[in-house]
C-alpha cells in the first residue's frame, strides 16, 4: 500500500498532472500533514499510510485556491464523498484535484462501522478488499419514551466542554460565519455551552451534508455520541426526500429554493408519539 501510494504521488508530480501533493507523515506518534512539490522530497520516505484518519478534504479547500496547477490528494472513500458534497456547495474545484484512493483495510472499516469502505471509481492506488461492516444494531439508548430520550441527550450534551473539536475537524463545517460563534445563539460564558441548541445547530446542518465519516465522534473528548445524532438527522432527510449526501451530484432538496415537493405529511412530520 505504502509503495503504491508513493509511486502514484511521484508519478503525478513527475508527469505534471499535479504541482503539489499533501501527504501525512508521522513524528513521535503524531500525524503531521506536509505539502510536497518535488517527487524527490525526502518526506516521502516517512509517509504514513496506517489506519488513522485525517480530514484530507479540508486541505483541498485550503490549498486549491492558493496553488498553481493541480493538487494530488490521498483520499479514503469518506474523504471523496466529502469532496462531492463540497463541490455542490462551491467550496472546492474538484477538477483541480488528482485523487489517489486509499482503500481501507477491513479493520478500519469495522472500527468505523463503515458501510462503504471503498468504491473504486478508477482512482484507487491499490485494489480494495474491505467489505462493508455489519450494520450496527440501533443503540439501546434510543428509547421509545420521549422523556428518556431527552434525558439521555441532555446528559450527553451536558458533558460538552465546548472545545469546538467537532466543528473544527469536520470538513463539511465550512461556513465562514459560523452560527456557533454567533452570540445570539450560543453565549460565551457558560460551560457546558447552551444545550441543546449548541449541538442541534450542527445536527440540523449535518442532516443533508454529513457523510458519516465519524471523525467528530472520534475526536470528541467528552465522548458525546455525535455520530448517532447526525445519523438520526440524516435518516430524516433520507426518509422524507430520499436524499443521501455524498452519493451523487444531485443537490440537497432542502437547500434548493422553492422546488415543488411532495408535501404530504410535511406539516405533521413523520414521527408522532
Amino acid at each position: 500500500m505504502k509503495d503504491e501510494l508513493v509511486k502514484a504521488i511521484k508519478e503525478a508530480l513527475d508527469t505534471g498532472k499535479a504541482s503539489a501533493a499533501v501527504i501525512l507523515t508521522e513524528k513521535d506518534g503524531e500525524l503531521m500533514p506536509r505539502i510536497i512539490t518535488d517527487a524527490k522530497d525526502s518526506a516521502l520516505d516517512s509517509i504514513y499510510t496506517g489506519d488513522r484518519r485525517y480530514p484530507m478534504a479540508s486541505f483541498a479547500m485550503m490549498l486549491v485556491p492558493v496553488i498553481e496547477g493541480n493538487l494530488a490528494l490521498p483520499v479514503r472513500e469518506c474523504d471523496r464523498r466529502m469532496l462531492v458534497e463540497l463541490k455542490k456547495h462551491n467550496q472546492v474545484d474538484t477538477d483541480r484535484l488528482v485523487l489517489l484512493g486509499i482503500p481501507c483495510s477491513q479493520e478500519v472499516a469495522d472500527a468505523c462501522g463503515c458501510d462503504h469502505p471503498f468504491t473504486a471509481n478508477g482512482i484507487s492506488v491499490s485494489p480494495a478488499t474491505a467489505k462493508p461492516a455489519e450494520p450496527s444494531p440501533p443503540p439501546e439508548t434510543v428509547s421509545e419514551d420521549s422523556e428518556e430520550r431527552l434525558a439521555f441527550w441532555m446528559d450527553a450534551f451536558s458533558r460538552c466542554t465546548k472545545c469546538m473539536g467537532c466543528r473544527n475537524v469536520c470538513p463539511m463545517c465550512f461556513c465562514n460565519d459560523c452560527a456557533l460563534d454567533n452570540l445570539d445563539y450560543v453565549s460565551v460564558d457558560s460551560k457546558p455551552p447552551d444545550i441543546p441548541i449548541f449541538h442541534l445547530i450542527r445536527a440540523i446542518d449535518m442532516s443533508d451534508r454529513c457523510v458519516d465519516c465519524g471523525m467528530c465522534e472520534a475526536i470528541c473528548p467528552a465522548e458525546i455520541p455525535l455520530r448517532q445524532l447526525y445519523r438520526q438527522a440524516r435518516a430524516i432527510v433520507k426518509e422524507a426526500y430520499g436524499y443521501e449526501p455524498g452519493i451523487s451530484d444531485e443537490k440537497s432538496p432542502i437547500e434548493m429554493l422553492g422546488e415543488p415537493a411532495e408535501l404530504a405529511g410535511m406539516q405533521e412530520g413523520s414521527r408522532t408519539e
Partner: protein, 154 residues
C-alpha cells in the same frame, strides 16, 4: 366602564405558570389574517407572542431551536397557502425544512405537539383564531417545556 373592566380581566396577560407560545407570521398572509381576527374582535388566548417575518421561507431552523432554548413552550409557523406565496415558492422551502426540524426535535424527545405549521391567508381571521386556540390547548396539554426544567437542573 364596568364592561371594559370585565373585558380587560378576561384578556389579562398570562402568568408565569402559563404556557408561552411563539408564532412566526408571514407578512403577506398570516399577519394580515391575525390583523383581521383583531379587527373582527375574535377572542383567542393571550399566550401567543408573534414575530412578523417577510416570508416563512426566511425562518431559519436556528430560530426554532433558539425559541426552545429560551424556554418557549410551543412554536407556531403560519404562512401563505401553498401556491399563494408572495415570493413564489418560499413556503415550499418552509414545509421541507419544517419536517426535518420537527422530526429532529421529536427524536430528541420534544413533544410533537409543541410545533405546528399552518397555512393562514389574509382572509382567514376565523381560521387564525381557531389555530391559536387549538394550538394553545395542544401546548397546554403538553405542559411546560421540559428543556426549561432540564436546564434549571443543570
Amino acid at each position: 366602564m364596568e364592561e371594559t373592566l370585565e373585558k380587560t380581566d378576561k384578556t389579562k396577560p398570562p402568568s408565569e405558570e402559563d404556557v408561552r407560545i411563539l408564532a412566526f407570521l408571514c407578512n403577506w398572509c398570516s399577519y394580515a389574517g391575525a390583523d383581521l381576527a383583531g379587527v373582527s374582535r375574535l377572542q383567542y388566548p393571550p399566550n401567543v407572542v408573534d414575530i412578523r417575518v417577510m416570508c416563512t421561507g426566511t425562518i431559519s431552523p436556528y430560530f426554532i431551536l433558539k425559541a426552545f432554548q429560551e424556554g418557549i413552550d410551543g412554536v407556531l409557523i403560519a404562512g401563505c397557502h401553498i401556491g399563494d406565496c408572495h415570493y413564489g415558492k418560499g413556503n415550499y422551502m418552509t414545509a421541507k425544512r419544517f419536517r426535518v426540524i420537527k422530526d429532529l426535535l421529536v427524536g430528541m424527545g420534544i413533544d410533537p405537539r409543541r410545533l405546528r405549521l399552518e397555512w393562514v391567508s389574509a382572509a382567514e381571521g376565523q381560521k387564525f383564531q381557531e389555530v391559536i386556540t387549538t394550538f394553545t390547548e395542544q401546548v397546554k396539554a403538553a405542559g411546560k417545556s421540559p428543556l426549561t426544567k432540564a436546564r434549571d437542573k443543570k
